[in-house]
Amino acid sequence: MLGTGVGVPAIVGFGLFGVIVGVIFGYFGMGSFMVTPTLLVFGYDATVAVGSGLAFVFGTAVIATLKHREMGQVDYTLGLVTIVGTTIGIEVGKRGLLYFRSIGLADGVVTAAYVLLLGGVGAMVVLEAMGDDSPADDGDGTGRLPWVPTLGMRPCLSLRGGVNISAWTLVPLTFLTGLPAGLLGIGGGFIRVPALTYLVGVTMPIAVGTSVFAIMVSGGIGSLSWAQAGGVELAVVAPLLLGSAFGARLGSSVTDLVDAETGRLYFGIMLLFGAVAVAVRQVGIRFEVPELQVLGVVLIVGSATIVTGTVLYSGMRAVRRPRTVSSSDRTGD
């Protein structure tokens, strides 16, 4: 599992790429979808790309969870329910994928689902962030959308930020977020964070903190499984983690400095770029055009770099001007 043939330029490159992924992960609670395709483009086989990507995500999630925990942004009750519901959803989604594979439709279904989910959620988040109506103005004073059924049946769970929700509502919601994760073979942060924000009603920092906690647990279990298959390449994971640890600290710190609407807007733009990139890459794979596959990864990494720069710049500006958004406004505590 110790790497061979990884030179100094590659190690430095992995370190810099790690910083970008770390900022995105620390700020948005997602980013795992960038790692594996990039490793594939660099010529690593699928086992190493997936295994090392997952081990890297696990390490980054550990650091991001510790940081969000210090800032009071991890809801463990919600996290544990999320892990249970998501795990069941992932298993059902995986069986669905096997069914689609058996009838020869797996590639088409996965590509369409990926692009529709990234694009759909991204468009929804951007429109909401650019509009005048904040979801916090709707319904019951939380961020939950008004049409989400709350079912007053016991047991009722009290979450951070004054959110009360029945377990009978919460478990199916977390199951639904795990379903596409299992179908697409991804961590699911880009689905879970908006789902926890808009469907459960917690604030975005708590959604991110809780999501990275769930990713840490599932990533640890997944990494063990892939390590047994020889898929964890420490020479790749170590420099990635070195950079991402730095980036995750920056990204987590900035969550309290950049106002919530701006954060949502960046998140949505990131997802829209991701949708375009995945579509381009899949077209390249489908029609065996390597240039399009590389272009897809360049779009993912390029958009991540731009969003990272913008987030950090916004954070720097927030530090340099008198604070108008306090920590309690962001977390709801």
């Binding site: 599992m1 983690l241 600290r249």
Partner: protein, 49 residues
């Protein structure tokens, strides 16, 4: 009877994930000093400029 190759494989995989976990904890602590002690003084300089 214990299957030695599978035991070694399990120890190897747990070690690999353990190394990642240990690196994450060390980096968290190291960058914690950088961000929590050095960082605030830098921020103070920004705010007073």
């Amino acid at each position: 009877m214990t299957d030695i190759p599978s035991l070694l494989s399990t120890v190897g995989s747990v070690s690999a994930v353990g190394v990642v976990l240990a690196e994450a904890l060390v980096l968290h602590a190291g960058y914690g000093v950088l961000f929590d002690r050095v960082g605030p003084s830098v921020v103070d300089r920004f705010e007073t400029e």
